[in-house]
């Protein structure tokens, strides 16, 4: 059933990325363990906020995933268990129960999302584009050095205050500039993996397929601010060089799950 068919408003689709699928699966409550301790993923609240609203609106078929995303999420769980076995020497009985529990939560999340097929030829075409986009962004990160930030800060300070006060203003400008370019810095520290590129290539494939049917606004819900979602700050400012480039190149809007919730309500 197409979402909002007949209306002039583009339909809304949300791809639930691996980090959100995992975020909503790592949780164990006191009731289950007869203890007051609650252990959860740092992104549990924001991830479940989105999953809950998608569950309530399941008939609108807004939330989607691909087989690659599901495989990556299951692989993440399996791999974490492997690390616990090898590094932490955890008890296999406990790990089996943990894997069962988290896998169960993950499967219940996947059940309320639509699994979309991916045309591998189209995906391959987009993989090249995605690779090029990230390569250019990584090139751009080379320009964000301490020296360039300092000279930009000095230039800004020139326009703000008289020479007498510049030495007080420059450090503040450096801090602001570092923050505004934070997403690029994070990308440099944590370059995209093949699976990150695959996620974006599949999202671009879906956007192309959706747009052929009807105007569509496609969001990628992600807890990953190095490769997808903007880096947001408490004062309302943000760093979004990567996010903006993704939207310009592929028409995909990446954002944190809690921000996408407001669009569905």
């Amino acid at each position: 059933m197409p979402e909002e068919s007949g209306s002039t408003k583009p339909r809304l689709k949300v791809i639930v990325e691996t980090s959100v699928l995992i975020g909503a699966s790592i949780y164990i409550v006191a009731k289950e363990l007869e203890t007051t301790r609650i252990i959860k993923d740092p992104h549990y609240e924001r991830s479940t906020q989105l999953i809950d609203i998608l569950r309530k609106n399941v008939k609108r078929r807004i939330g989607v995933f691909t087989q690659t995303l599901a495989n990556q999420a299951h692989y993440t769980l399996r791999d974490a268990v492997g690390k616990c076995l090898e590094r932490e020497k955890c008890n296999p009985e406990n790990l089996s129960a943990i894997l069962n529990h988290c896998g169960f939560l993950l499967e219940r999340t996947l059940e309320i999302l639509v699994r979309e097929p991916i045309d591998s030829n189209v995906k391959d075409r987009f993989m090249t584009d995605v690779g090029q986009m990230y390569a250019l962004l990584l090139q751009r990160t080379g320009l964000v050095t301490k020296d360039t930030i300092r000279s930009m800060a000095r230039e800004r300070a020139q326009w703000r205050v008289s020479p007498r006060y510049r030495k007080y203003v420059v450090p503040d400008e450096i801090r602001k500039l570092n923050r505004s370019y934070l997403q690029l810095t994070l990308l440099k520290e944590n370059p995209p993996s093949t699976s990150d590129c695959e996620i974006l290539a599949e999202a671009a494939t879906l956007y192309e397929a959706y747009s052929e049917e009807m105007p569509t606004e496609l969001y990628l819900a992600s807890n990953d601010s190095s490769h997808f979602s903007p880096r947001r700050f408490d004062d309302g400012s943000f760093s979004n060089q990567v996010t903006k480039q993704i939207e310009e190149s592929f028409n995909i809007k990446c954002d944190w799950p809690e921000n996408i919730v407001t669009l569905i309500k």
Partner: protein
């Protein structure tokens, strides 16, 4: 006991017997408690294999764990099936239990025969993934047929405090983004 022992043919015979009894129950719309005998034998096989793989050092730790995990899940699900058949009349689940079992049997059989095929050798990356996927299919099928033990039931046999500590270690091993969406202002 290894894969070449007599236990595996017994397991297969029991599965065939369970399938035939369950089909009859569905046709006749009546629970036949004789199914509990082959189910209990199958349960013993799963228990023995689970114990074998728990401390097995013959193959890599990750692969031994996946084999252990698969047999443990088989054991948990078969135990739940036995409980359902035992309590079917009491809970007025006659013939629902038989219908549910019939729906579960294909994935149970598939998992069992796949484990049989894997034996006690090292698994390839593909086999490791296929086994995990098969466990997921089995557990989903068990969930939708009411044959999956609740977490509380599963936890009864575990040390809960140790479980909490190890859940923490597991959760810490998963980090996509070490910081939150909000940076320092």
């Amino acid at each position: 006991m290894g894969v070449t022992g007599s236990i595996f043919p017994i397991g297969l015979n029991e599965l065939a017997s369970i399938s035939s009894l369950v089909k009859n129950m569905v046709d006749e719309e009546k629970i036949d408690k004789t199914v509990i005998t082959p189910l209990s034998k199958l349960l013993s096989v799963a228990k023995e294999r689970e114990a074998f793989w728990k401390d097995c050092k013959k193959i890599s730790a990750r692969n031994a764990f996946m084999m252990y995990h698969a047999w443990r899940n088989l054991r948990l699900i078969i135990s739940k099936m036995i409980t359902r058949f035992t309590e079917a009349e009491q809970h007025h689940e006659n013939p629902t239990t038989a219908n549910d079992s019939l729906r579960l049997l294909p994935s149970l059989l598939h998992t069992y025969t796949f484990l049989l095929e894997l034996g006690e050798r090292e698994l390839s990356v593909d086999e490791h993934k296929r086994l995990y996927d098969q466990i997921t299919i089995l557990r989903n099928s068990a969930f939708h047929t009411g044959m999956l033990p609740l977490l509380e039931e599963e936890m009864k046999e575990l040390d809960k405090k140790a479980m909490v500590v190890e859940f923490g270690k597991f959760a810490r091993g998963i980090r996509f983004d070490k910081t939150t969406s909000k940076g320092n202002s």
